[in-house]
């Protein structure tokens, strides 16, 4: 299929539309037995027309359509220690460190040392556990916010909220990130009681209750910097991940910048999508 050479130039040229030639239809054109009429066609989801393309898509997802290209290596670096004060975890791969840092040090409550998977949950925890104003307000209005992103419901008690989480959002009854504070009434079976942080260094049996909130390796964090958005906020300040990485020095004197550059995602390098990603598209001159 030979394309006129000027076509490529046209693509690279300026936007614009052709001045249309005059349209002049003869009514005899659409008289029987002829029936052609121009019309844009619409295909719905399951139409057979899409069969071929859908099969291609499926093969792509299943990685049958593999592309040539080696998987990027997962660099091993000389052992280094987590930089957070008091943490003595040792790593030999940056990806492992990244996950460790985010899991244990990023969203940590400075009061009780609990670590949370997200800033949102940490904020909720601080509000409900360590904010005395919250307790006062909660006596008069619905303050317990639903934990599901996007749900704006609020509740009078944490128990009501839990019920909402279970009934409305199908959350598990023992959802780890919704522990009631010191229970005032009888302890309910199965519900988590307040769990104190274990002594540092005590890496005992993590019962199913301990889960994420207990950060046994964590020790007194540095004070919160000025400029926190809430007066009551006591979040442990975390640096952007780039911070700790730049501090890493390797014993062989290699530059941390180089390590940063060659660090790639951990699990699995898979074929197909990763190597496709290298063919980045650029608009030439547009």
């Amino acid at each position: 299929m030979q394309l006129p050479p000027a076509l490529h130039a046209r693509l690279a040229g300026a936007p614009g539309s052709a001045e249309p030639l005059p349209v002049e239809r003869d009514p005899a054109a659409r008289t029987a037995p002829f029936r052609f009429a121009p019309r844009p066609v619409r295909f719905p989801r399951e139409h057979d027309f899409f069969e071929e393309g859908d099969v291609q898509r499926h093969l792509y997802l299943q990685d049958v359509l593999t592309q040539v290209g080696g998987a990027p290596e997962r660099p091993r670096v000389p052992e280094f220690t987590c930089q957070v004060a008091g943490c003595c975890q040792v790593f030999d791969a940056l990806e492992d460190y990244e996950h460790h840092y985010h899991t244990l040090h990023r969203n940590v409550c400075s009061f009780c040392k609990r670590a949370f998977p997200s800033g949102h949950l940490l904020d909720t925890h601080i509000l409900e556990w360590h904010d005395s104003l919250f307790q006062i307000l909660a006596e008069r209005q619905d303050m317990y916010q639903c934990l599901v992103e996007g749900c704006t419901e609020k509740f009078r008690t944490s128990r009501d909220r839990k019920e909402h989480l279970v009934m409305r959002h199908l959350y598990p009854v023992d959802f780890r990130f919704d522990k009631p504070r010191k229970s005032r009434g009888p302890v309910m079976p199965g519900a988590a009681e307040q769990v104190l942080a274990e002594a540092p260094g005590d890496d005992g049996v993590p019962s199913e209750v301990d889960a994420m909130e207990v950060c046994s390796e964590h020790v007194e964090p540095p004070p919160a910097p000025a400029g926190e958005r809430r007066a009551y906020s006591h979040r442990v300040p975390h640096e952007d991940l780039k911070g700790p990485r730049r501090e890493i020095s390797t014993s062989n004197g290699g530059s941390s910048a180089a390590l940063w550059r060659c660090c790639r995602a951990f699990p699995p390098r898979r074929r197909g999508p990763r190597t496709l990603a290298r063919a980045a598209l650029h608009v030439a001159g547009l």
Partner: protein, 486 residues
């Protein structure tokens, strides 16, 4: 010359897939495996573990004294879970999932990772029971999407994507758990790997058969995609420029396709700029095709064709005065460059590109004029030999041009058109011949001398062979009359 649109997949496999697609049984899942690890483990076939062994691994992972030991136990378990037999044994073991979820939510980062990998293996299973055993973990997988560890999030997303596609039962849990808002929050991640994984998970959600009623519409409560910020972000991620990543774009183009072909509220997408974004993307694709060898660009071209074609049928696609909002003739140039590319790389996708060409030209004198002024008729004719479906589409586009009157037919004449038509009249496919007859009629009507030339080139004989065909005979006779008597 190719016939039948040859796919590059071996016939046996492709046939089964096509059948599955026809029966709506095409379930596509993604599996992440660490290639570096796989190479290291080469030669060690994953073992089948029995109950006792699994229990031991779990016990060790949960209560071992040394971290390396605990991690090692989970790694062994994970390897074993590559085998369906081990998966079956695992899910039947009482408390196994509970323990795994406990490890997933533990405070030991590396245990978390390995536990997540175990779940991922389970999510990829072809056995529903195995996949659905992962359900207790979903609220945590969703919670972790608002975390910060990009690799962990990526893993959670691929696992969720696999779960989503498994069954409606799974989705009936994920939707109230807030998967749509969780994805909407996560799409702001700057990490390409996260975005690609998110696109995959979202595309699975949008492909669900209940999506048009329960997942896409903005009237739905917490689970509405159109009601969220997802469409705007998707369009942003499809904008051409130095930040465009092919793997990410492919996923979101498919997401957009599933939304659009569900025909829920395409006018909304048009107001958000979908037409212009996709048009620019098409231009970008054509440019890329000229620069690189392959790299799978047809994987992006296909959903872009579909989105544009379907959007063009919306009333909202027309601006004031009935003109298409999408007017730039570079779109036509880009499309032809892509058609040429497809002819070489993936001819089975040609119909999709020609579908777009039809929708562009049907009601647009401007685009029809572009076809003529850019000299694209001859390249178009070249496609007539590919397959019947392609031929019908090519002839339809030519009819789109010809029906606009004498000024257009004049530019179609003379040239190779007549001999191409005589060739297509020799086809046995009724639809191809029928469309050829329609085109002939338009030419006879608008182009003086066309009937005469037709006669001189033995056109009557070409018509004769179809005189007895039910769907064709009326038109054949009418043309014979016109040719002979004017």
């Amino acid at each position: 010359m190719l016939r039948g649109g040859g796919a590059t997949v071996p016939p046996a496999g492709a046939g089964a897939l096509r059948k599955a697609r026809r029966e709506q049984q095409l379930v596509s899942k993604r599996l992440l495996r660490d290639e570096a690890l796989e190479e290291a483990e080469e030669g060690c076939v994953a073992m089948i573990f029995g109950e006792a062994e699994i229990q031991q691994f779990l016990r060790l992972a949960q209560r071992g004294t040394e971290e390396k030991e605990r991690e090692g136990a989970l790694v062994s378990l994970r390897r074993g879970l590559q085998r369906p037999e081990t998966q079956q044994t695992f899910i039947r073991l009482e408390g196994s999932i509970r323990t795994l979820v406990g490890l997933l939510t533990s405070n030991q980062a590396l245990l978390q990772l390995e536990a997540a990998r175990c779940l991922h293996e389970l999510s990829h299973s072809e056995q529903s029971a195995v996949v659905e055993a992962c359900l207790p973990a979903t609220s945590y997988l969703l919670t972790y999407l608002s975390g910060h560890s990009s690799d962990f999030i990526e893993l959670c997303l691929y696992t969720l994507g696999n779960l989503i596609v498994e069954s409606e039962a799974v989705r009936r849990q994920l939707l109230p758990q807030g998967i749509v808002p969780a994805l909407a929050a996560c799409i702001q991640s700057p990490h390409l790997t996260v975005l690609e994984a998110l696109g995959y998970a979202l595309s699975q959600l949008l492909q669900a058969k209940e999506a048009p009623e329960k997942i896409i519409p903005s009237a739905s409560t917490d689970s509405s995609v159109l009601g969220s910020t997802l469409p705007q972000h998707m369009l942003q991620l499809l904008q051409p420029g130095p930040k465009l990543n092919l793997g990410v774009a492919v996923e979101f183009a498919w997401c957009l396709h599933y939304i659009i072909c569900s025909q829920v509220n395409n006018a909304l997408l048009i107001t958000q700029g979908a037409l212009s974004t996709l048009g620019l993307l098409l231009l970008d694709l054509a440019g890329a095709v000229q620069r690189t060898e392959d790299a799978g660009l047809e994987l992006l071209a296909c959903p872009v064709f579909r989105c544009l074609s379907n959007l063009l049928t919306e009333a909202a696609a027309e601006a004031v005065g009935g003109q298409l909002q999408l007017r730039d003739e570079r779109v036509v140039a880009a499309l032809f460059i892509l058609l040429q590319f497809l002819l070489q790389k993936q001819p089975s996708l040609l119909p999709e590109g020609l579908w777009l060409l039809n929708n562009l030209t049907a009601n647009s004198p401007s685009f029809c004029t572009s076809l003529l002024s850019l000299d694209l008729i001859e390249p178009l004719l070249h496609l007539l030999s590919v397959s019947n479906v392609v031929s019908v589409l090519v002839l339809t586009v030519l009819c789109n041009v010809a029906e606009k009157g004498p000024a257009y037919c004049q530019r179609l004449w003379p040239g190779p058109l007549l001999s191409s038509l005589l060739d297509t009249l020799a086809f046995s496919d009724t639809e191809v011949v029928g469309q050829s007859l329609e085109l002939l009629q338009l030419l006879f009507l608008y182009q003086p001398g066309a009937a005469q030339a037709f006669l001189q080139q033995s056109g009557l004989q070409a018509l004769q062979r179809h005189e007895e065909v039910a769907q064709l005979q009326d038109r054949v006779h009418a043309l014979q009359q016109t040719a002979l008597h004017g």
